[in-house]
């Protein structure tokens, strides 16, 4: 223990001694006795009520001829539910959420996790009563140690991760069986931990160190996890080239929770009611009367709703890292990006050709020309070292996309004599991981453009 730690320990013990010195022990003991007497009276009353109820039940059973050895009903009744629709979650869904979790305290939400808690536990959770209902789209999970970090590749990879933890005698898996929820294959199982596995359940973020809730979820001794591993596509916008990691729906509750069986039945009921809408079609159809067109979007943009400017000449698909991935810029390890198409106003002279003349812009590689739907298109890649306003023209007076400092932009200027040009571009954080294939995806999207349809 270093000097600071020694001082801390001494200060805490001194203060605790001083604070408790004023305790009136006899008065406190009398209060405890009073509380225990009340408890015993309540228990006594309950015993009588239960006994009476048992007598009545037996009498009724005899009257209607019900045999006591009738088949055992092993399905717990489910709690009342409330319909829930996800907001901003990476896999949109609706489901019936049990009322013990659904209200009145709202869930903790994020783009890759939704957490409901036994409502009593938001304010006053006694030991043994904790119960959390979690929908998680994990990106990583941790093994026996925090250095044992698994980037979750698929549902099967996640199940292999659980099996490995069982082989390491950290978890016991049981009741493993296949199922189908909302048309997606799934595996359902129960997990009991013999010791804590921090981050073992999975993490919404992709951090390497922080395994703290609510971003990261752990297996804890003394708890039971009832888990569905659903093969739904939860890939984030920046990793669409990889295999889809799974969607997890789970209950983590204290093993001693008297409501545990009901809670498990509630989760099964939630799973039976879950609905996952089909992802939007990758083809975009412009509503613009200036230059109607269709195109097949780059894969990441299919996860984003388009924003159309009031002018009707500009449409963009945009993801900012801070809003889509992390809660703060400091945690933002993935690139923001924007894809846009604009039919600029005015007769700006060749916006792409004039890019080299603009301060703060560096051309990467060569200009190239291609045909897009039988029209001439000039392609270029530029890096902006300063904000460059109106670099590509404006869709209306005072409304001009900016090439932001620190971004790389691939741009195509599609023109035909006598018709307004169409500028298509995509910008991303220069040098950010996962951006290597963006230029090729962009070119493919541009080549898919069809005018006048």
């Amino acid at each position: 223990m270093n000097d600071l730690e020694s001082r801390l320990s001494a200060a805490l013990h001194t203060e605790a001694d001083e604070l408790s010195a004023a305790v009136d022990l006899p008065r406190a003991a009398v209060e405890l006795e009073s509380r225990l007497d009340r408890l015993e009276r309540d228990r006594h009353r309950r015993t009588w009520v239960i006994g009476l109820a048992a007598v009545v039940a037996i009498a009724l059973a005899v009257l209607v001829g019900v045999r006591l050895a009738a088949p055992h009903i092993d399905t717990e009744p489910v709690s009342p539910t409330t319909s829930y629709t996800s907001q901003g979650f990476v896999v949109p869904f609706t489901a019936n959420v049990p009322d013990w979790a659904a209200g009145p305290t709202p869930p903790v939400t994020g783009d890759r996790r939704i957490v409901w808690q036994n409502d009593q536990c938001w304010t006053d959770c006694s030991p043994g009563q904790d119960a959390k209902l979690i929908v998680l789209a994990p990106q990583v999970a941790f093994g026996a140690t925090e250095s044992d970090r698994l980037v979750i590749p698929s549902a099967q990879g996640y199940l292999d991760h659980l099996t490995a933890l069982q082989d390491a005698h950290l978890l016991t898996l049981s009741g493993v069986h296949p199922a189908t929820f909302a048309g997606h294959e799934a595996t359902v199982l129960d997990v009991v931990a013999s010791s804590a596995v921090p981050g073992g359940l999975g993490c919404a973020g992709s951090g390497t160190v922080d395994t703290a809730e609510p971003s990261c979820w752990s297996f804890l001794p003394g708890t039971r996890v009832h888990l569905a591993v659903i093969r739904a596509d939860t890939r984030p916008y920046y990793e669409l080239g990889s295999v889809a990691p799974p969607l997890l729906v789970l209950l983590r509750a204290d093993k001693g929770n008297p409501q545990l069986a009901t809670y498990v039945a509630d989760v099964d009921h939630l799973l039976a009611t879950v609905q996952i809408p089909e992802p939007p079609a990758p083809t975009y159809r412009s509503n613009s009367t200036v230059m109607p067109f269709t195109l097949v979007l780059p894969p990441w943009a299919t996860r984003v709703s388009p924003a159309t400017a009031p002018s009707g000449r500009l449409v963009t698909w945009e993801v900012s890292c801070e809003s889509a991935v992390a809660s703060s810029a400091a945690d933002c390890a993935h690139p923001s990006r924007i894809f846009g198409a604009m039919s600029p106003v005015g007769s700006g002279p060749d916006p792409v050709g004039s890019l080299p003349d603009k301060p703060g812009v560096t051309i990467v590689g060569e200009f190239s020309s291609q045909l897009v739907d039988r029209r001439s298109a000039q392609f270029a890649t530029v890096v902006a070292t300063h904000d460059v306003p109106a670099a590509l023209g404006c869709d209306a007076a005072g409304s001009c996309p900016v090439l932001a400092a620190g971004t790389t932009t691939r741009v195509a200027d599609i023109a035909e004599h006598g018709k307004p040009p169409l500028i298509v571009w995509e910008s991303w954080t220069t040098g950010a991981p996962g951006t290597d294939g963006l230029a090729a995806d962009f070119d493919a999207a541009v080549q898919s453009i069809r005018f006048g349809t």
Partner: protein
Amino acid sequence: MAGNGTDAGPGSDSFPTSSRAAVTALFLAHHRRLVGLASLLVDDHGSAEEIVQDAFESLYKRWNGLRDPSTAVAYLDRSIVYGARSWVRRRVTARSFVPPEAGVLPSAESAIVDGRRKEELALAIRELPQRQREVVVLRYYLDLSEEQIATWLGVSTGSVKRHAFRATAALQKRMEAWA
């Protein structure tokens, strides 16, 4: 007060006589220490005493469920931590630092310099964010390991380390400022 449970009133047959006696014995042995622990986690003495009463009441309810009665003290410690957290949650919207009640701490005039430093350090601990404060109290008052704290608080060991690091860094800074 009833120390052996013989005058426990109606219904005492539903609890083993020994459970009441055992809980009472634990109360006498640990009440003062537990009030000290609770006081380190919440900002007013009355609430600290209430949390301790709740913990013993909860222990009594669950006595028959305890696999090993020797774990009762740990159960009480943990109940205090959970109880304090619930208290803080209930007050979180209006929470502000409330100095300890007059007369509980020695007056500044009577304190020697070293004692004053200790007092200032204790006050600085009270001003930490609640989770950091919990980690500091569990680590340096109850002498729990980081793994134990993680289990108690339902977080990862990494999270405990992070809170402990931030807390000690903040306290170190305060101490340097006093130097």
